[in-house]
C-alpha cells in the first residue's frame, strides 16, 4: 500500500482536507462549542511537553495513519533541527519530550538525539512512540529494547486489538504476530513488569468508524487477554479516538461513514474533555522545525499562531505560552466522550 501522497490522492493536500471538514455542517463548529464552554479562544495552560515528529518515514502503512507515513515518505528531521530542539529543551526546562514519527527509530540521528536529550537531565521523561515491528524489521534495530532501557525511555506502542484479525486489518498483514514478539522482547528486559521502573504503555484506537469505550474497561480486558493468551505484560492502556484527517478521513469517506462519524463526534462533545485537550500543555515540532499546537495540526499544516516564534530556531517561550491555539472541525476528535490525547482519555 502506498501513502496518499504517493498516490496523488486529493486528501494528501491539507488545504483540501480543511475545505472538506469545513464544508459540511454537522450542527455546530468547534469554535462555537468552545465558546459555549467558555474556552474560546483556547489558550495554553503551560508548556510541559515538547512532541517532536522526527519524520514521516515508517516501515508500516497503517490504514488510519494521520501522518500518512510509510516507506515511500522521505521527509525526516535533520541534525540541525535536532540541535535547535536540544537548545529549547535545555533552556526552557521541558519536562517531557515525546518522540514520534513515522517510525522515529528510522531517522539516522535517532540514537544520537535520544542520548543528547538524556545528557541534559537524567529526570526528563523521554517517550518514544515505537510501532513495535520496527524492532524486528532489520537486525540493526534488534537491540532497540536495550537502548531504550539504557536511556530510561518510556515506550508507548500501538496495539489496536488483542487478536491478529483486527490488528492486521488496521496495521497490515503479520503486524500482530510481530508486535507480540517485540512486546515479549521488551518484557524480557523488564519493560512493563511491575517494580522495574521501565514503563511500557499501549495505545488502543478503534479499528473502524466508532469511538473508544471506557479506558479502564478496555485496559482490564487487554491485560487479561494479553497476559493469558500471549504472556505479554504492560503498564497502562491509552485509548485514543481516530481524528478525521488524512488516511482515516480517506477511510471514512470511502466506507460511507464520514457523516455519521462526524455527527457522533460532535454530539459526544464533552466540555471537560475540551478543557483538558493536550494542545494546552504541548508544542509539536515538525520534521522541518516548524511549530504546531499538536501533531494533528502539524499534518494539516496549521502552524502555531505566535508570530516571530513559528520555528524551533526562533522559540520564544512567552509568545508561545500566550498564543491562541488554532482549532478546526477535526478537534471534535479530542473532545468526544471521555476525550482523547496522546496520553489517552482526558475526562
Amino acid at each position: 500500500m502506498k501513502s496518499l501522497k504517493a498516490q496523488n490522492h486529493p486528501l494528501s493536500s491539507s488545504k483540501y482536507e480543511i475545505e472538506l471538514l469545513e464544508s459540511t455542517d454537522f450542527g455546530g463548529t468547534f469554535e462555537s462549542k468552545l465558546e459555549e464552554s467558555g474556552l474560546f479562544p483556547l489558550k495554553p495552560t503551560q508548556i510541559e511537553i515538547l512532541q517532536i515528529n522526527m519524520g514521516k518515514m515508517c516501515n508500516q502503512v497503517c490504514k488510519h495513519c494521520h501522518v500518512d507515513a510509510g516507506p515511500d515518505r522521505k521527509e525526516i528531521m535533520e541534525r540541525e533541527v535536532m540541535n535547535h530542539c536540544l537548545k529549547v529543551i535545555r533552556e526552557n526546562k521541558i519536562r517531557t519530550v515525546d518522540l514520534t514519527g513515522g517510525a522515529p527509530e528510522m531517522n539516522p540521528h535517532f540514537r544520537w538525539f535520544v542520548s543528547e536529550i538524556r545528557a541534559i537531565d537524567s529526570e526528563i521523561n523521554i517517550i518514544v512512540r515505537c510501532n513495535l515491528t520496527i524492532i524486528l524489521a532489520n537486525p540493526k534495530y534488534h537491540d532497540l529494547p536495550e537502548f531504550y532501557k539504557e536511556n530510561k525511555i518510556e515506550v508507548v506502542s500501538s496495539l489496536p486489538y488483542f487478536n491478529a484479525a483486527k490488528t492486521d486489518a488496521q496495521r497490515g498483514d503479520g503486524v500482530f504476530e510481530k508486535s507480540i514478539k517485540a512486546l515479549r522482547m521488551l518484557n524480557e528486559i523488564g519493560y512493563g513488569i511491575p517494580g522495574t521502573g521501565l514503563v511500557l504503555n499501549l495505545v488502543y484506537n478503534p479499528s473502524g468508524a466508532f469511538l473508544p469505550g471506557s479506558q479502564e474497561g478496555l485496559e482490564a480486558e487487554f491485560k487479561k487477554k494479553l497476559s493469558n493468551q500471549y504472556a505479554v505484560e504492560f503498564n497502562s492502556l491509552f485509548t485514543i479516538t481516530n481524528i478525521p484527517i488524512s488516511r482515516f478521513l480517506e477511510y471514512l469517506q470511502r466506507s460511507g461513514n464520514y457523516e455519521a462519524y462526524m455527527e457522533k463526534l460532535i454530539s459526544s462533545y464533552n466540555p471537560s474533555a475540551a478543557s483538558n485537550v493536550m494542545c494546552r500543555s504541548t508544542v509539536s515540532v515538525g520534521w522541518d522545525g516548524y511549530l504546531y499546537d499538536c501533531d494533528f495540526n502539524q499534518m494539516l499544516e496549521l502552524k502555531v499562531n505566535s508570530p516571530g516564534s513559528q520555528h524551533i530556531k526562533d522559540w520564544k517561550q512567552n509568545a508561545l505560552k500566550e498564543r491562541e491555539i488554532v482549532v478546526n472541525q477535526h478537534c471534535f476528535g479530542c473532545t468526544a466522550g471521555a476525550g482523547s490525547s496522546c496520553g489517552g482519555a482526558t475526562a
Binding site: A165, K166, Y204, G208, F210, G213, S214
Partner: protein, 110 residues
C-alpha cells in the same frame, strides 16, 4: 420511500419526553443507572443488551448495541455468541413448551 423503521429515528429516542416528560426522565435515569459499571461490567451488560436486542428484534437496539459492544472492545465472535445465547433461549423456550404438548397428548390418548 416510507418505511416503518427509519435509522434516523434512533437519534430521536430522547424526544419521547416531548409527549410525557416525567416518565421519560425517570426512564432515562433508570436506563443510565442500569448500564453503569456495576456487579457486571459495562462490557458484559452491552453483550446482554445485544442479545436481548436480537430476542426482541428491535433494529434500533441492534444498531445501537452493535456499535456499543464494539466500542467496549468486544469482537465479532463474542457478539455472535451473544446472539446465539438469545437464539438458544428463544429456541429452547419453544421446545420446552413441547412438554406441555406431550402432557396433553398423553392426557387425551388411549
Amino acid at each position: 420511500m416510507k418505511t416503518y423503521y427509519n435509522p434516523e429515528d434512533l437519534k430521536k429516542f430522547g424526544n419521547i419526553g416531548d409527549f410525557q416528560k416525567s416518565m421519560a426522565d425517570k426512564f432515562f435515569d433508570y436506563y443510565g443507572e442500569v448500564f453503569k459499571e456495576g456487579a457486571l461490567t459495562a462490557r458484559e451488560k452491552s453483550l446482554i443488551a445485544l442479545a436481548v436486542a436480537h430476542a426482541v428484534q428491535c433494529p434500533y437496539c441492534i444498531d445501537a448495541y452493535t456499535v456499543d459492544s464494539m466500542e467496549k472492545g468486544c469482537d465479532e465472535e463474542q457478539m455472535m455468541e451473544a446472539v446465539h445465547v438469545a437464539a438458544a433461549i428463544r429456541g429452547g423456550a419453544s421446545l420446552v413448551h413441547s412438554t406441555q404438548m406431550m402432557n396433553k397428548v398423553k392426557e387425551i390418548s388411549m
